[in-house]
Symmetry: D2
Subunit: 296 residues, 4 copies
């Protein structure tokens, strides 16, 4: 069982979303401004729906926190909903028509109801606000060890960037990402993606996309090779595929490995005198460190 | 928390592998011959290493089982190792050179040891024998509900089959798979894959591959939209990526969704009078039912 | 793993206490007035400290609840603290003197701090407000099956009541309990307990006590004999001893069994034609049904 | 969730009992002779049934163990049953008459069967052989920290010893216990208990009893005051009451606290210059350190 864990609660149009985090060490400093900035980025993005104009999410830590640091007891962070109307039947009427690509039909069959309302309230993508808050808190913890996470949008539709983040260039790419309203650290690709989004709006459609995350400064030996469900790959894949609308996850070279020989895939191991540690050598293909993952 | 769960134990060259299964209903009949056949298929495959010639795996259920059925108490299934020599230092000497593509380096750093032996004994792919036994037992349970699982090798390297399993043709494809020593239900592609394996042997290399699994007869409403780690997609992805050497997992159309509009991806919902149930319509692209998954 | 579970968060002088409840069935009606009455009874009691005059606890369900019923998603209930001053160092100064009978010393050693404040904020008996709310919600669930719980104070010091609750008299005893400010359904014993409390106040001391709970209408077969930590006795004992200040728990005849023969302890089994069910016969000693428990 | 955990499997007349232990540190040395001695003591005791003459239990570690030490992977220990006949209907016939004081009735109602056989096979006290093996392994771990456990029979019926184990005399009491076939470290009381057992045999009855365990060398700060189910008291009580036939558990002064003032119960805290640590002072009553527990 993981020592550090979290779970979420809350509905899209209820009082708010909660993340419940267990296992944070006593004394850990949490940067509320950083957490709110993460929530702000979640709300952004070219072409987002009207909901984002209603809410301006802020993290409010309501337990396990005192004067800037975690107290060691369960920490609960709350993201309030301004659009709180779940108790008003007129404002949140029954939903009788299940939408494709949502949990509506599955939930209604499971709960034996013709009203999808309570399913969609919980299955809503707004639930990710709680996960972003939890993730931001986890990043405060990781920073104590010099571990940094960099995520971005690689692209969508036929607009895919070829940027290759590494330990040297990632902060520069981060600045490009933050300057882009589609979070693509590549202006030309970003412009093509914006055009695709504009066209989809005209067609009353939506666009697919690919996000990618890199972790830098991660030590060797996290996770476990002893239990199938504690392997780092397993836990990352489960976490990514638990996000609404994700249908694939790859680590390192991912599914491309299916078309390659082992010698093209396995990183040779060598000792890096400068880093004073043994490390995987860069090969001609992208590295397969467990912490690089892509998901669609 | 899942009601039905399993975990494994055991080392590659110890007395044997175990799977510990909790939550099987009292009275469930288990087909030992079926379980052994699944173990047999795991041991097969063109070009497998010498280990498979040593072991002829059989499932031995040592607790929670009586006269052909589960008793409702924890069920433990054992797959013995003929190659049991872990206590003999001469036959299982220290391993000081970590292999790329294995847990050797990560495990040694984690345990602060220069001997990779104990890491590789547990991280070994032989551990999957216990998982195959657990999976076969799970399939005995699913069969009570008319749920069937069909898995096969789609291909590897530049040999990828285009077969499209569905409810009507899958048993025919199953027969083709079982007649193939590379488990590809497509003779021409199988022959090309065999050639690639032969060449890799000459080059002292290995080949990549892609496996695909379909579930037929699965009802709507399994899993949960209430917790991120109980979603069916999350649990399937975590289970697949917990298998040694898997670096990607896709459900339905998978990462291809990144390049498509929502209208091309979401299955329309309609009522099927013949099946007397509401179902997702087949669209021109393959269906994205949660139970179809591909992994590399 | 239990299907229905709960955990708590929150500090004594923070914004409030939370109980997080997983596994309530979708559609379960919850009686908020009943829940608040349970909280009110927790706050009562002859001789309680000043804190109870500050707080008037009310349960506020902030997730998993809509228009009177549980929605099937995680349900979080909040009990706000009026005395919210944890972020103000002047109002919640460091505590350098660990108190006997509290977690102060253990927590400070664990967290390597000379300030007991954060330990005592979480270890505080105020945390039980969240448990009472969770218990009240669990009782709403049990009532759907006709299962009722009756708890009372048997006494303290040398004042112990001899009342013997059973299926016929418990509602009468309940009325007596509710009329007593020490929750003893026995006026004479209650008066002696009040006197002991008065004397303890004069002596700047406190008094011990014994509480007892009975469950009526409980079906046979709950819990599990398959896992040591899922047995009903184990789970009840763990729950009771997890309450602040409890040092003993007994089920049925409890430790008295140590001084009796098996024939005096084991309930004979017979068929009750009136109840149309097989049941344990009442023996001359109190019944040892697993649901009767006493705790000190 | 606890880092170190265990669960058991197996039936009374199946191939054997298993304990599955997760979280033992890699490299921990395990003393097989010590483990077998613990199993041997479990089998002893004046007046035990005939089963103990059939079985001579030995611990066989079948995974997670190599050349005398734990490997860090899940460790499974097996205690074989000589009396293995569960698959033979003639030797293990259906049991249609539920016994008082056993799980027979509850299990049969739960599983909707008129045959108690599969319930009693798992609920059997023989299952404790696996727990004793797990406990002995845990003691190997505790010994690395100088933590020792001393358990004994305080008595039964009207024969109760007044011995008071402490850090100075416990090894002497241990020798007395080991010389006693009723495990009472007090010859006179032991003789009276033996007499009670002899009389019960004549009467075709059984006797009650009280066992007591002390832990010496235990550091302050184990367990958690943050979660109700991780408190040391809660976990100890749950573990004890999960043992077959236990109906009460007390820690420190236990239920006696109900009749005492707080000043008689709470240990004063002082600094012990000799031990160079802060400690609870011995008061005139027995200490209430969390690790002293009595159970009936």
């Amino acid at each position: 069982m993981p020592t550090l864990s979290y779970t979420t609660a809350g509905e899209s149009h209820g009082p708010g979303l909660l993340a419940w985090i267990d296992g944070l060490p006593q004394g850990l400093e949490l940067d509320l401004e950083f957490i709110d900035n993460e929530l702000l980025r979640r709300q952004g993005g070219y072409g987002r729906g009207g909901r984002q104009k209603i809410e301006t999410d802020r993290a409010e830590i309501i337990t396990g926190f005192r004067r800037g640091h975690a107290t060691g007891s369960p920490l609960v962070v709350r993201v309030a909903n301004k659009d709180d109307r779940l108790d008003d039947l007129e404002k949140t009427p029954p939903v009788h028509r299940p939408r494709p690509g949502h949990a509506d039909l599955a939930g209604s069959v499971k709960w034996l109801t013709t009203d999808c309302r309570e399913t969609l309230e919980r299955a809503s993508a707004r639930e990710t606000a709680a996960r972003v808050a939890a993730g931001a808190i986890a990043r405060c913890f990781l920073r104590e060890f010099g571990i940094e996470v960099f995520g971005f949008v690689r692209g969508g539709m036929d607009a895919m960037s070829e940027v290759a983040p590494d330990e040297n260039n990632w902060r520069e790419l981060l600045a490009l990402r933050d300057a882009s309203d589609v979070y693509v650290p590549d202006d030309a690709v970003g412009e093509r993606l914006r055009a695709a989004i504009r066209q989809a709006k005209v067609d009353k459609d939506t666009v697919g996309g690919l996000v990618e995350a890199h972790v830098f400064g991660c030590p060797i030996g996290l996770g476990s090779c002893m239990h199938w469900d504690q392997k780092l790959d397993s836990r990352i894949a489960g976490a990514v595929m638990g996000i609404q609308a994700f249908k694939g996850v790859e680590i390192g070279m991912g599914c491309e490995c299916a078309r390659l020989n082992g010698s093209q895939v396995h990183d040779p191991i060598a000792y890096d005198a400068a880093l004073k540690r043994r490390r995987h050598l860069d090969s001609s293909v992208p590295p397969t460190t467990p912490a690089d993952s892509r998901a669609a």
